[in-house]
């Protein structure tokens, strides 16, 4: 059976209350959903929380989803919203703690490479949205329009964010080469 038809069948079954079908949809999409949330939140743990929230929202809203629409795009928007919501809640709840986590958002004990250190440092200088845009574009390969749809911004804004983010990160990496 065609993958798209199979997915549609799973969606319809899940809408009829088949939890096994929804679990199959989770298996199909959780990796990409993680990638979307990871682009937006500062840590792996936050991304995992956002993924769970996203699937919970999706499950509750599933009866309103039209099976003929692209499920991945619908789920990506939910995931991006869950991640953005998590970032907002963190900012409101604990501004000081967030400041620390933003200062060092990508902790990886295995990394000692100067280039990566520079990149991490450069990433902290980006806004949350710029970072999300460049990660979604460069890491996950989404187009500007898709990113705009996910983050709720115009395509032109996504394009502009990407341009500025790239320029800043290139400078951060470029400094190393001139050392």
């Amino acid at each position: 059976m065609d993958a798209r038809l199979r997915e549609r069948a799973l969606i319809v079954a899940a809408q009829e209350g088949d939890e096994g079908a929804f679990a199959a949809l989770v298996r199909l999409h959780q990796r990409r959903t993680y990638a979307v949330t990871r682009a937006i939140v500062p840590t792996h743990e936050d991304a995992e929380d956002a993924v769970q929230e996203a699937f919970l929202h999706a499950y509750r809203a599933l009866d309103r989803f039209q099976p003929d629409q692209p499920f991945a795009a619908w789920l990506n928007r939910i995931a991006a919203n869950a991640a953005l919501d998590l970032v907002r809640r963190r900012k409101v709840r604990d501004a000081e703690e967030l400041h620390d986590s933003v200062a060092l958002p990508f902790r990886d004990p295995a990394e000692s490479d100067e280039l990566r250190r520079r990149l991490r440092s450069g990433l902290t200088m980006l806004t949350d949205r710029q970072r999300a845009v460049i990660v979604l574009h460069d890491v996950e390969g989404y187009k500007h329009a898709e990113i705009g749809s996910m983050l709720g911004i115009p395509e032109g804004t996504a394009r502009s964010d990407l341009h500025h983010a790239r320029a800043l990160l290139r400078r951060a990496l470029g400094n190393l080469r001139s050392d």
Binding site: E19, Q30, R38, F55, A72, V135, V139, G141, R170
Partner: protein, 125 residues
């Protein structure tokens, strides 16, 4: 979803930046991680708040059963030992504490016949 073309103005630098970002933001590769995440998601989705702690408790059950069996065996052994000790103490006390029984004997005077003795007894009452 498709990866956009790399801007040729930045030659290798752009590709290098993308490569580093991909390394840095790569999702976990461990299949077991995704299996666990799926279980967590489904536990939340199905509204089974107990699923998580049941999963934990379920892990304890074999150890709990084994511990209970061992405790039962130890308790049974201790009970048997205590009863044996009790019996031994009771036995020893019975041996040590038994006093000689005083037996009162009546010796019939040899000068009196059995008939006379009976008669005397009847008369004295």
């Amino acid at each position: 979803m498709s990866r956009g073309p790399v801007d040729p103005r930045f030659d290798g630098a752009e590709e290098r930046l993308s490569r580093l970002l991909r390394e840095m933001f790569a999702p976990p590769a461990d299949a077991a991680y995704w299996s666990r995440l799926e279980s967590s998601i489904m536990a939340r989705v199905t509204g089974d708040p107990g699923a998580s702690w049941w999963t934990v408790v379920a892990g304890w059950v074999p150890a709990g059963v084994a511990a209970a069996a061992i405790a039962l065996l130890v308790a049974g052994f201790a009970l048997v030992q205590a009863q044996a000790a009790e019996r031994q103490i009771a036995y020893e006390q019975a041996i040590r504490g038994s006093a000689p029984v005083t037996v009162q004997t009546v010796v019939r005077p040899s000068t009196m016949s059995e008939r006379d003795a009976t008669l005397q007894l009847v008369l004295t009452r």
